[in-house]
């Protein structure tokens, strides 16, 4: 099969490779010389102060933002203006947003089956079966026929995770998935994400949840002012931060959280 051949060709490739990526918003230099390789099955947590470019970084992975210099290769496909390549990447990369962005005019089940049916050309019955399986996995199968507005924030975010998983992506991006949740609902979403991580999904998570980062991440990327300041495994990252900016950041947020 040609697809397995393609997979074999890509097998030694990283899941995502940023090489010398720069991006500007007008004259504002928002990403500066980003070099980062994310291995297959690797869990990366990106943290940093607001405005540091961490959301922009992951939004470049599925081309919601376009970079102006350098290269981003996702699953062996380099992102360019070519709409076919962008679609190819988007089919393999799932994304979860801070504000859920569920489609309010569709039921939870329809939210989940929309892309499989129209992008993957899956028969409706098969798509509904898959969606039910994934909704059961995030423990909201009993809400499948409700509309997003009738669910709590935590349930909506889990539905959004199920919707992304319905495309059976190879890579999942999380853009501050718990930042707009009530405190009581943060845990249910983080638990769902931890389960996903244990199953070997390649993940990039932008979050301020340092407990989650400590438990789940393989590496933590700390960003400030559009550049990567420090990358390290969780233990040394929290116990022995090297850069002064990292130390300051950690002392600020850990102070708040304890």
């Amino acid at each position: 099969m040609s697809s397995s051949l393609a997979d074999a060709d890509r097998s030694d490739e990283a899941a995502i490779r940023f090489s010398g990526v720069h991006k500007w918003y007008g004259s504002f230099h928002v990403l500066r010389n980003i070099n980062l390789t994310v291995g297959r099955g690797e869990r990366i947590v990106v943290c940093g102060p607001s405005g540091s470019g961490k959301s922009t970084l992951i939004r470049c992975v599925n081309r919601l933002e376009e970079h102006q210099r350098g290269s981003i290769v996702v699953d062996g496909v380099e992102l360019t203006d070519d709409i076919k390549r962008i679609d190819e990447v988007r089919r393999e990369v799932g994304m979860v947003f801070q504000n859920f962005n569920l489609f309010p005019h569709l039921s939870i089940l329809e939210n989940c089956t929309l892309a499989p049916i129209w992008v993957r050309k899956m028969p409706r019955g098969e798509a509904e079966e898959l969606a039910s399986k994934l909704l059961a996995r995030v423990r909201i199968l009993n809400q499948a026929h409700k509309y997003p507005g009738q669910l709590s924030g935590g349930q909506q975010q889990r539905a959004a995770i199920a919707r992304a998983l319905c495309m059976t992506p190879k890579i999942m991006l999380f853009d501050e998935p718990t930042s707009s949740l009530d405190p009581e609902m943060v845990k249910e979403v983080l638990d769902t994400m931890s389960e996903l991580a244990q199953e070997g999904m390649t993940m990039i998570v932008v979050t301020h949840e340092m407990g989650f980062a400590r438990q789940v991440a393989d590496r933590i990327v700390f960003m400030d002012l559009g550049e990567i300041v420090e990358v390290n495994a969780p233990l040394p990252f929290f116990q022995h931060p090297q850069h002064e900016r990292t130390k300051l950041f950690l002392s600020q947020i850990l102070h708040i959280r304890h």
Binding site: N62, L64, D87, R90, R91, V93, G94, M95, F97, N99, N101, L102, F103, P104, H105, L114, A115, W118, V119, Y147, P148, G149, Q150, A160, R163, A164, M167
Partner: protein, 376 residues
């Protein structure tokens, strides 16, 4: 006082109680809405008194004192304190069909009955197989209606020139054609106006701003006089087709701005979520953007439909005979000349337009309630 005495721990749950009397029910409603203050009580009583004084007179004018049958206007001229329904009844066939040949009028009735049935099927939210209704109404019905109304030698139906068409039939035809074509065209223009491609954007903006900047009558005259110049002489557009094109063009520009409002109120997150799932522009627009944008602007769209229905009365300036024009012609009949006859005619026309427009308004309110119930 010690700090410990300020602390509190609940021991038994607070019971749930029924609301106090007079906080709900008809009496409470009347008190809150009709008699909330002395001034409002006076206004309420004043309005009720006015209605009680006027309504019986109006009812008597329209029923007991009205003339229901007469062969000409003489009786109506003698009884000027009642409506002259005899006039409307006598002229009914002309008001209904214009100069459409009497022997062929069954064709109009059949076409209208099929159209009405399909529209009800289409608008009835819980009706089965509405996709079929849409297919029949938008694809099969226009061809069928054209054959029925215009005639076709193949089916042994004599050709009836559109110059003979008139009355309520033409008003309904104009409204339906206007609504059916202006909404999709308006949606395309609204999408075009937000297109990333400069040429499409410019063309949409020029069209919308030009049409919005010109009175409807001007558009009608332009459609009537300019349209024939743009097409080959052998293919000259029909005299009725020209005002139909005019009303579609005019209404589409307003529709486009209404739809654009809906598109703009949609958050960026919806577009991003659709793109992140890999949906193409066309699918994103059809499955995610338009369903939300259009349901947000239903009141505005229906408002445009109502305006369009009123505007159908203007097609008479380019020679088409709509219902109001038919009424004007009927009133000019010297046999039926008389003050109450004219008033009766216009009251009847008013009721006709009101029934349709009020119906559309109620239907849109119903749709809004249905959409709101499921989703919020």
């Amino acid at each position: 006082m010690s700090l410990a005495s300020l602390a509190y721990v609940r021991e038994a749950p607070e019971p749930e109680e029924a609301p106090p009397i007079l906080s709900s029910g008809a009496l409470a409603w009347a008190r809150a809405n009709l008699f909330s203050s002395i001034g409002s009580s006076f206004v309420t009583i004043g309005c009720v008194a006015l209605i009680a004084y006027l309504l019986p007179q109006l009812a008597a004018w329209a029923t007991t004192r009205a003339i229901w049958s007469a062969s000409d206007g003489a009786v109506c001229r003698q009884h000027q304190d009642g409506a002259c329904w005899a006039f409307v009844i006598t002229k009914w066939d002309y008001l209904r069909f214009g100069s459409y040949p009497a022997a062929e009028r069954w064709r109009v009735n059949v076409a209208e009955a099929i159209g009405a049935a399909l529209i009800i099927w289409l608008l009835w939210i819980n009706a089965p197989r509405r996709v079929w209704a849409a297919f029949l109404f938008f694809v099969v019905y226009p061809i069928l209606a054209l054959i029925l109304l215009r005639g076709s030698s193949w089916f042994g139906l004599p050709i009836v020139d559109t110059q003979l068409w008139g009355g309520i039939f033409v008003s309904l035809l104009t409204a339906v054609v206007g609504i059916v074509f202006s909404l999709p065209l308006g949606v395309l223009l609204a999408l075009g106006r937000r297109s990333p491609l400069p040429a499409i954007r410019l063309a949409s903006v020029l069209f919308i701003e030009f049409v919005r900047g010109v009175p409807f009558i001007t558009i009608l005259f332009m459609a009537n006089n300019l349209l024939p110049l743009f097409v080959p002489e052998t293919w000259t557009p029909d005299r009725l087709l020209r005002p139909l094109a005019g009303i579609v063009i005019f209404s589409a520009a307003y529709m486009a701005e209404e739809v654009r409002g809906g598109l703009q109120s949609l958050g960026r997150g919806q577009y991003e979520a659709a793109m992140a799932l890999g949906l193409s522009y066309a699918r994103m627009t059809a499955l995610v953007v338009l369903p939300q944008a259009l349901s947000l602007v239903i009141p505005g769209i229906v408002n445009n439909f109502i305006g369009l229905f009123m505007d159908t009365t203007l097609i008479s300036v380019v020679g088409a005979t709509d219902f109001l024009e038919a009424m004007n012609n009927a009133i000019k009949d010297p046999i039926w000349a008389g003050p109450t006859i004219m008033v009766t005619g216009y009251v009847f026309a008013g009721i006709f337009y009101f029934v349709f427009c009020f119906g559309m308004a109620r239907y849109s309110a119903h749709i809004e309630r249905v959409l709101a119930k499921g989703r919020k």
